[in-house]
Amino acid sequence: MSGKTEVSKTIRQLILVVVGMFGFGFAMVPLYDVLCDVTGFNGKTAGKYTATEEQDVREDRLVTIQFLASNNANMPWEFRPKVRTMKVHPGKLNTAEFYVRNVTGETMVAQAVPSVTPFLAAEFLHKTECFCFEQQQLEAREDLDMPLRFIIDSQIPEDVKTLTLSYTLYDVTEQFGLATN
């Protein structure tokens, strides 16, 4: 029969596993983000695209990009794309605008969250300027035209003919507070 040290050693190893797996649970969060960033699997788009020059513009191809806009839960703002679809050449820099209006009598802060379908298109959508990069604060009854500047990568696979970019607007007034103006 093994002595007390054997028992202690096993216990120590097992506790290490417990702690390690607890950490792994949390590590799954950034792991998941990294995986999704690299593969675009959940349709999340990357951050600000730094290369603003047009490269390898594909004059022979047109890709349709469709814009959706919706509000989350009780977000009451008016929010819509100014155009529903655009046909663009991959590689070219384009601009689309979204109209937003705070219909309430209070100042509010909103966050737009993008989502792309089909997934494999997400990594080919580069946004050089997007209202989704920051929170948007609007005074009571104030409205705004928000720009989106994007390039669809010229390497986008041939079988992607349409991609849909959907923004969901969240009310984040509580989390971010109001900036003094």
């Binding site: 989350n72 839960a73 009780n74 009451p76 529903r84 849909t164 959907s166």
Partner: protein, 379 residues
């Protein structure tokens, strides 16, 4: 393949179910559906089902034989073998082979489901607690059609005060109308919790995740009415937010589109006119029963504290401005939604008028659609 499957089906069903009522396949089995994909899914389902039946019959058969023959009461002496490598290898390898055989058609059907192609019509499907919103996307915003689709079955049927209709719990006020033989792309998302858009006849089930959009597609071969339900627990009325799709010939679809666009125009015009109290009350009651009664109950008494009573207390007998605000903008942190996003000004004005004057509330006040419209449009 199909005929063979059908013959096996008939044989098996004859064998297993002699009861005439049970021969009604629709209460026992998945339906074939009305799309090429749904039929492939059905065939796949029947294939794996038959494989499982065969495995079951073999394994249970051996067990039954053993239980009958290898009993101590028959005076048998137990054998002593307790291993046999060849047999063990065999019953490891053979199942792998069976799995490979099943994996091939499964992979093919899945590939077909994921195949991308241009769509003829794109519809945004948004899940709400507890109804759906459909938006027919169009380059021209004036041509876009958007409406809510909510359960039409009256609360009285649910609470057993009236006999249940044929499409109990599977009926909506505004069905989704689509043309047959055209590729329809569904862009599925959610307003609040996770929902799931499921139409069994199409073999389409796509989760609606808040903040994300997912797509699914369908080409419906036959005209008809196809009913589905929300397939992800989303709160109190998860079981009460059905989906009804009406698939029609292209010509009928075009007529419906024209009708809907005319309706939208009419609503726009209706907003301008002055309504009588009776007109507002009638419309208001309709809207109330459709959109408010599930929480605030047909009698207005609600289920406090989560769903307040509207009778003789609170918002419906308080200042008009507060009442309008809460109906338009909802109340954060509660289940009260921003109905300004879902209903048109006439419906909003009507339901507020109704709430202030129905039951024992005698506010004797009304609000006109054009006032609501003004508030919503420009302030």
């Amino acid at each position: 393949m199909n005929r063979v499957v059908q013959m096996w089906q008939a044989g098996l069903s004859l064998l297993l179910f002699s009861n005439a009522a049970l021969a009604d396949w629709s209460t026992l089995n998945m339906r074939q559906g009305v799309t090429e994909i749904s039929r492939q899914v059905y065939d796949l389902h029947m294939l794996i089902f038959y494989v499982c039946c065969v495995i079951g019959v073999l394994v249970f058969g051996v067990m039954i034989v053993s239980m009958l023959m290898h009993r101590k009461s028959l005076g048998v002496t137990p054998a002593t073998f307790h291993e046999d490598t060849r047999v063990e290898v065999a019953w490891t390898v053979i199942p792998i082979a069976i799995l490979l055989v099943m994996a091939v058609p499964a992979t093919n059907t899945l590939r077909d489901m994921y195949e991308s192609a241009d769509s003829d019509l794109d519809i945004e499907v948004r899940g709400y607690q507890w109804k759906w919103q459909y938006t027919y996307l169009n380059d021209d915003p004036a041509k876009e059609i958007q409406f809510m689709s909510a359960l039409k079955t009256p609360q009285n049927e649910i609470q057993n005060l009236e006999a249940k209709g044929e499409h109990y719990l599977l009926d909506v006020d505004n069905p989704l109308v689509i043309p047959i033989k055209k590729r329809i792309r569904f862009l599925v998302t959610s307003q609040d919790t996770i929902h799931s858009f499921w139409v069994p006849d199409f073999a389409v089930k796509r989760d609606a995740i808040p903040g994300f959009v997912h797509e699914s597609w369908v080409v419906v071969e036959e005209p008809g009415v196809y009913r589905g339900q929300c397939a992800e627990l989303c709160g109190k009325d998860h079981g009460f937010m059905p989906i009804v799709v009406q698939a029609v010939e292209q010509a009928d679809y075009d007529l419906w589109v024209a009708e809907k666009q005319a309706e939208a125009k009419e609503v726009f015009n209706t907003v301008g006119k002055t309504w009588t109290k009776d007109e507002l009350m009638a419309k208001g009651e309709e809207v109330y029963l459709q959109h408010c009664a599930a929480c605030h109950q047909p009698n207005g008494q609600g289920i406090p504290p989560a769903f307040p009573s509207l009778v003789g207390q609170g918002i419906s007998v308080g200042p008009m401005g507060d009442h309008i605000d809460i109906v338009l903008n909802g109340k954060a942190g509660t289940a009260m939604q921003a109905f300004g996003q879902q209903l048109n000004p006439a419906e909003i004005a009507a339901v507020i008028t109704y709430e202030r004057n129905a039951w024992d509330n005698d506010m004797n006040e009304l609000v006109q659609p054009k006032e609501i419209n003004t508030m919503m449009a420009s302030e």
